[in-house]
């Protein structure tokens, strides 16, 4: 093991990860007067480097900017051993984390998502309620910037959205009309995308590929939302710093973290508290890498649940091919309308909980040819006729399901793969649980009904999108009982008094909605708990 090259000055709090949760926590902690160091294994992504400024932007999406780190193979990334997973985990490592490459769909969980055991007799209730989290949702909305419309009858009342909704697009209007005729719920989505300029951020210009980055700054990512304020509040952000373990002073007190700096030297960062915000795979990986004599099966793991209960939101896709052009290449690809008609449990359907349907617009020419949402365009004599029959003529509905926690769906350390510093890669074991399978089948049926009602001439069904592992949840769950949870309702480890978690690992159940607004609200709440707990560097 390399020797320590240096020891940094102590901080009140060290945060691992500068993404969705880490940025929010960093700002909140520093604004409350604590000294904060944040360690991020990636670097800054500049607006000028965004591939959508280039003609070959779709090549970048397939190669250098692919959401799968195993394909992208950026030096900031670590590989993920996903050979035992039905779904490929996706993430991005940089200041901003995976918000650098996301679609910015920004729903909140619904009140019943926090009480699944009480409502349906399965899984567990969260140790907090929607009402507990609501002020943090509101605060986070202010920072990220949300376009949308209050008044959704399927959700609790919420503050007026400061930016008007994105246009639905031709396909969105068609599907909304179809939902109306079917008598089903729909609503324009909340999107973390500005529809008019604000401060240093520009307005959305409807370009499409939000996942590749947004040079106008309209689509939120924490490098342009929280980070400027966090840095102004005094956070020291150290980039290209790969944390390799949490260090301990006693059996139940962390002393800080040890990381490799960009030159490969080992650095100690002492801190009064450690906050892990490295996502639902990176956080359990780090806890499992931090074994010691007092914690032989991984730090904070007396429950045995570190890494377990991984939830991804299994997703199916139903694509309609229409005779009329829908111009789906225009507009933020992932955000238009959603339906929560089948979200809550109806036992007559043969499964518990439910799903959301979210309209996806469509791909650019290359994505269409390769068959991202529809069938791949055949090669040969029929190539061009098939391409033009489909390109710009499709709209898709995702069926995103509740993903009940299963302890066998888990993150361990790989015995086959290491990262570019020699640390064991995470090994993901994931199978779609039976309840979610039933939801997928039912959801495909309903999405198909909607597509036909909207006038689709042909349907293309993807039963399970293996490449939709965007959501990394549940691997260090919250709870009151130390024997059945990793952290308490404040995100504090039951085993290590000054160790906190502030990312998707905290989720007790997954809901069936995109998790970023919830995990950020949790991160802000965890930060407040740290502040009120009086953590100081020592």
């Amino acid at each position: 093991m390399p020797m320590t090259a240096r020891t940094n000055s102590p901080a009140d709090v060290v945060i691992v990860g500068a993404g969705a949760g880490g940025a929010a926590a960093a700002w909140r902690l520093a604004s409350s007067g604590l000294s904060v160091v944040c360690l991020e294994q990636g670097g800054w992504v500049t607006p000028e480097s965004v591939p959508s400024l280039r003609t070959d932007w779709e090549r970048a999406r397939q190669r250098s900017h692919h959401p799968n780190p195993n394909i992208r193979n950026n030096r900031w990334d670590y590989p993920v051993d996903d050979r035992d997973s039905e779904i490929n985990p996706l993430m991005y490592n940089a200041v901003g984390g995976s918000t650098i490459h996301w679609g910015a769909h920004f729903p909140r969980l619904r009140p019943n998502d926090f009480r699944v055991r009480s409502c349906d007799g399965v899984a567990d209730d969260w140790p907090l309620s929607y009402d507990d989290l609501e002020p943090y949702y509101d605060l986070n909305d202010d920072w990220m910037g949300v376009a949308g419309l209050s008044g959704d009858p399927a959700n609790p009342p919420r503050a007026r959205r400061p930016f008007p909704p994105l246009p639905l697009g031709v396909g969105g209007v068609r599907l909304a009309s179809a939902f109306d005729r079917l008598g089903w719920h729909w609503w324009p989505v909340d999107a973390a995308i500005l529809t008019s300029p604000s401060g240093s951020r520009g307005s959305c210009n409807n370009c499409g590929p939000c996942d590749l980055g947004c040079p106008t700054g309209a689509r939120a990512s924490t490098d342009i939302t929280y980070w400027p304020a966090a840095l102004a509040a005094g956070v020291e952000l150290i980039t290209e710093a790969r944390v390799r373990r949490i260090t301990m002073s006693t059996a139940d007190q962390a002393s800080g973290v040890e990381y490799l700096d960009r030159s490969g030297q080992v650095v100690q960062q002492p801190a009064g508290a450690v906050v892990l915000a490295a996502n639902g795979i990176g956080t359990p990986r780090l806890l499992l890498l931090s074994t010691n004599a007092d914690h032989p099966s991984g730090l904070a793991n007396s429950s045995g649940l570190v890494g377990r209960r991984l939830m991804h939101h299994p997703t199916a896709l139903v694509t309609g091919v229409f005779d009329e052009p829908l111009e789906g290449f225009m507009g933020p690809y992932a955000v238009s309308i959603l339906s929560q008609e089948f979200y809550e449990t109806n036992r007559d359907r043969g499964f518990l909980r439910g799903f959301q349907m979210q309209l996806i617009r469509s791909d650019g020419p290359l994505g269409a040819a390769l068959g991202g949402y529809q069938r791949p365009v055949p090669w040969g004599e029929r190539h061009h006729s098939e391409f033009f029959r489909q390109f710009g003529h499709t709209a898709s509905l995702t069926v995103t399901t509740e993903d009940l926690p299963d302890p066998d769906n888990r993150v361990t350390l790989s015995s086959a793969l290491v990262d570019n510093t020699g640390l064991a890669a995470p090994h993901v074991h994931y199978r779609v649980e039976p309840n979610a399978r039933k939801i997928l089948s039912y959801g495909i049926e309903k999405a198909s009904v909607a597509m036909r009602e909207a006038g689709a001439r042909e349907l293309v069904v993807h039963d399970l999108i293996a490449s939709a592992g965007f959501h990394l949840l549940g691997t260090a769950r919250m709870g009151h009982d130390p024997t059945t949870s990793v952290v308490d309702a404040d995100g504090r480890s039951h085993d290590v008094a000054n160790l906190f978690i502030a990312d998707g690992s905290l989720f007790v159940t997954a809901g069936a909605l995109n998790p970023t607004s919830t995990l950020q609200a949790l991160a802000l709440r965890v930060a407040d708990a740290i502040v009120s707990g009086g953590t100081r560097a020592r």
């Binding site: 008007p164 210009n205 370009c207 020419p365 090669w379 040969g380 061009h384």
Partner: protein
């Protein structure tokens, strides 16, 4: 090795995969073999796939058509899929091809940024039905709550 007309096996394969269209020659005649080969060389899996498919097509002097290529695809499905990825990736990111796509669809051949497309205002009238249903459901619930 180039044939009599100077074309290579990869040129001819690309022409079969993506034939000529609307004034554009096929992908090989368009001169995409170089970028396809370069793209493949950056990824060992793609490089091996391309080599395997070209080897399976046989001697560079032997002419081949769609049926020959389909036979190769049947024998090497995974490698062939990677070659399709290479071919499509380089074809549909070529400015000349995107110009044709624009002519036929309204898709703009320029990069998505910085221009984008018009951001039309949201039309709140679209919500009349969904809000009306919510009011009716709410009224039904209220009536059932107060019924004896």
């Amino acid at each position: 090795m180039p044939g009599k007309d100077g074309s290579t096996d990869l040129d001819r394969l690309l022409d079969v995969l993506i034939p000529s269209f609307d004034g554009l020659p096929g992908a090989g005649s368009l001169g995409l073999a170089g970028s396809v080969a370069s793209d493949a060389s950056a990824n060992p899996r793609f490089a091996e796939a391309l080599e395997r498919v070209l080897d399976a097509l046989g001697s560079s002097m032997k002419p081949f058509g769609e049926s020959d290529v389909r036979a190769v695809e049947e024998r090497n499905p995974e490698a062939f899929a990677d070659v399709i990825n290479l071919a499509y990736t380089n074809y549909y990111t070529d400015a000349r091809v995107l110009a044709v796509v624009e002519r036929h669809t309204g898709y703009r051949a320029a990069p998505p940024q910085p221009t984008g497309y018009e951001l039309a205002p949201f039309d709140p009238a679209l919500l009349e039905n969904v809000l009306g249903r919510a009011v009716r459901r709410s009224n039904q619930l209220t009536e059932s709550d107060t019924s004896p």
